[in-house]
Symmetry: C3
């Protein structure tokens, strides 16, 4: 480990000691419901773990133990990130496949929660398909664990980590934020920067709202100028919007909503063009699905796609990029992006723009395993600064060191 | 580790030394075919592992190695328990998914058994769907491993652990027994206690017989009054019933069969109301499935469901619970239970009864990972008492210890 | 560890030091494209790892880290072998299931390659279904990793290991070769031995060509008499055939093609009768699949099966085995074999022949986990001889050692 890396980690630990968190023996759900210290702590621990890992240090904290995941929607990078996070901390991973479990046969959420927690340190859950359901499911899961822990059934208070729900996608937003901090050379440099979180056209249907909600609910905490742009009718849920308004006032930034992509891009330091479904459509869909009304579901999808198609001009083009700060605004995306002429005929982003920022989006994604590992560490240990100090000081390499 | 815990583990090790077992380099199949010492050893090792684990000790015995599972039926808790058991001992886990393997394409059982054993310490198998098939499959699997070991193909004699077959569900029954031992404060306190293993109504079809068979074949060994109750025609297989008769005579308990749920519940210290299919139905089903006679299979299911439905009065109600010892008999279940008005309209157990014992059933389930780990440890090491002594004495915490 | 084993490993390390390899920070694709030193190095490391493992030593090189697999075709033994290899080296394993990932939704190969490499040491890929596609896919995957590594996105240059492509099946061929070396008591004893790689009849359709291609492209390097036999029209691709011709000239062996199974078996020390599809059929199939022409695909399958059926006499019978050297030629197969009267009515091999060599084929398969582990070790460490020396010298048992 070089002296530079060592000093970096020491500095992160010092900062961490100044940020008291209450995550120990709890779950991690929604960024805007936590105080600033908690958010800072996640960022600091993630950065420290990444630095230690890249310095060849093992950050293993567990000799045995399990990290479980439940994915109720498709996932590549969040799934891999969760499993990487567990692995780097020393946890074995298992995935609960609801199709081969007995969940459909009378198991309740609270029962399952305990049954898979006996030797588990953390359970990561993605449930983002239905408005009003995803977070509620995760919360019920977490509360059931708490009950079994309080009653002495579980020897430890297994954490739930939100890997995306209907409200927030905290591991994504915090990874995005970590990338911006790296890119601009420090969290303090984000102050005054303009970020455009904008809707973009996609030929697909039903994309969750949790990414834009997570972005406005988080970036507004750092004194940034947050500009949210979408066609009329594609509003976000109230809670994250109100959080963004409140945070921007508190931190001396701003939060504005516009229906013009160009206006949002104007002088933006960062742009995040990304499709999502109108939440009214998501709500209708949730109700039709519950009622099993298939014909109407198909009709709804047709209508929603047609509605999307009337906004094909919401594409991140070279022309729009020229409007950004010095024509060099940073393009961000959670991936996979709908790239016009590459992954679809017409999509969220022009091919040439995406290609120019492609490796930046990869660097952005690289933060997610460490953000998740930070959430695990913060919820599993009462004194994360001490944990990091031990990891830094001990002689335990990640792989065999040749003499 | 507190002195109390330390003394508990020392006492368990002392008892273990008095129980000679022959499980080393063998498989674990069916409880009633083993001598009492073997059963005692599993219980003692499971309890010791649980105590060490809860004291924060790592019970890892393997630096590398694999634990494989094959599930030919759905499973949540046994699957998780097996993987937890492997993980706590230091084994990586993999599951053989027959749909993505080449098993359908000409691989024989004996070939597969060797192919997945080269670096495996244990293979857990659930195969409980067909009468006359499940145990035979596990036995063939185990015998093939033995042949390859004897002939020098395999460097170790990988164990097979029965995660449920057509005859027995030993990890369930031993977990249930561990729970009863805890609940009544010691195995010696089970002597003279009455347990009612009763059939109960369920709206589902084809539930395996291995749980009731496992319960009567095991609980009869401890001087308990075992009362087996079911509607006419829902008999169990002969072997476990004969084992129960023999054990109850040997240990001064009793084994009786009745066709009245109330009679079984009368003065019972423990009740275990649980649905199962008549084995004549299971036999017919096995034959029809083999012959691919689909129309008759559907007809058989209809008949069986109708037959079940004529016994809806076999429900564990508050009235029945009042008949138990002091109205406070312990309700047990392997979960998931069919709870009337909760997971089904009419089922095995009244909602209020289940709710009162819900956390007890969770505590019951908590033993399974440790029972499975005990079976692995006993089949993998020639001197389990020495293993436990080392695990107890060494300084190896399960997770990072903060100064 | 016995002195004999210790000396064996020391000798292997000494030989390894004489074989310079350039695999560090690279991928492993196709045997015939590597110099002889590389092939030797894989064989030596695999043998050393097997010896250390059987001596009870842990060969763990990684404290944390992941090994990922992508299987685009069914697999039992290669899948298990890859996971065993990762596990023995200390890597956790995850499998990318394309059906639950977002790959179908706009992710490109190059994007996926980076997304699953952040904390991965190795990615094993099987993609053998389509001529002209499998290797290209693996190569694109590997190149994408290289780009992200070069640009600082990835902290390590994750290796890709070819677990079977349209050209080669290197882990299979090298496991087969390791078996032959053991069987004949040393690689130098292979010189002058005759091996018959022959087509054999199978009632199934579309078996890949990579096994026979891998065998002729590899065995021709050791001064063996390689006889390739198949019915007219079942030619292999040019590249491995040309490699075999070149290698056999260089090493003083021979490479001949015949259309008579008997001629190939005549005086053979080793026979490898195994079905494959004509590559013209595989090519047509690839094109029809791309174009989605289902009716023609079914017709093609019918034609191909009929064509196969006209060669049912290509069966490894007792009569043919009598033609081999002293009637005792070694039968090899990658498994599962199509055994006449056992796994199919008429197939690749007579039941009595297979039964006589059954355990030999198991011993053959036993090498694969160590071959894969050798590839991982050689691609991950710059000085594999030093790694083996440390693994040999350190006191780290694979499992708890009882006093």
């Amino acid at each position: 480990m070089t002296d530079i890396m060592l000093n970096q980690v020491k500095e992160l630990i010092t900062k961490l000691e100044a940020n008291h968190t209450d995550l120990y023996n709890d779950s991690f759900f929604i960024t805007w419901r936590y105080p600033q210290e908690t958010i800072n702590a996640v960022l600091l621990v993630a950065k420290a773990l990444m630095t230690l890992n890249r310095a060849g240090k093992s950050v293993r904290c567990f000799d045995t133990g399990l990290g479980l995941s439940i994915f109720r929607d498709k996932s590549t990078r969040t799934r891999y990130s969760f499993k990487s996070a567990c692995n780097m901390l020393g946890l074995g991973t298992e995935e609960l496949d609801e199709s081969t479990s007995q969940i459909a046969h009378g198991e309740t959420v609270r029962e399952t929660a305990t049954m898979i927690s006996f030797l588990s340190e953390v359970i990561g859950i993605r449930d983002d398909m239905y408005i009003g359901v995803g977070h509620a499911y995760q919360k019920e899961f977490s509360d059931s664990i708490q009950e079994s822990y309080d009653r002495g059934i579980l020897p430890q208070r297994t954490s739930v980590v939100n890997l995306q729900c209907d409200l927030d996608h905290p591991t994504q937003a915090l990874a995005d934020l970590s990338h911006m901090i790296d890119y601009f050379g420090g969290v303090e440099n984000l102050r005054g920067k303009k970020i455009a979180m904008t809707w973009a056209y996609s030929p697909s249907y039903g994309k969750p709202l949790s990414v834009p909600q997570g972005i406005v609910g988080l970036m507004s905490r750092f004194g940034m100028e947050v500009s949210l742009a979408y066609p009329e009718g594609y509003d976000l849920l109230d809670e994250p919007v109100q959080a963004a308004e409140k945070f921007s006032k508190e931190t001396g930034g701003s939060f504005t909503v516009t229906h013009s992509m160009a206006e949002a891009f104007k002088d933006a330091d960062i742009v995040y063009p990304k499709s999502w479904a109108p939440f009214t459509v998501m709500q209708q869909r949730t109700e039709l699905l519950k009622a099993g009304r298939k014909a109407e579901l198909i009709e709804l999808e047709q209508q929603a796609l047609a509605r999307n198609a009337s906004h094909k001009d919401w594409e991140c083009t070279e022309e729009l990029m020229k409007l950004t700060k010095g024509g060099k605004g940073l393009y961000c995306h959670c991936l996979p992006a709908d790239i016009s002429g590459v992954s679809c005929k017409e999509g969220e982003c022009a091919a040439s723009v995406f290609e120019r920022y492609r490796l930046d989006t990869y660097a952005e994604a690289a933060h997610k395993p460490f953000v998740i590992a930070a959430m695990i560490l913060l919820t599993r240990f009462p004194n994360p600064a001490k944990v990091l100090t031990q990891l830094m000081e001990r002689e335990r390499p990640r792989r065999l060191v040749l003499d």
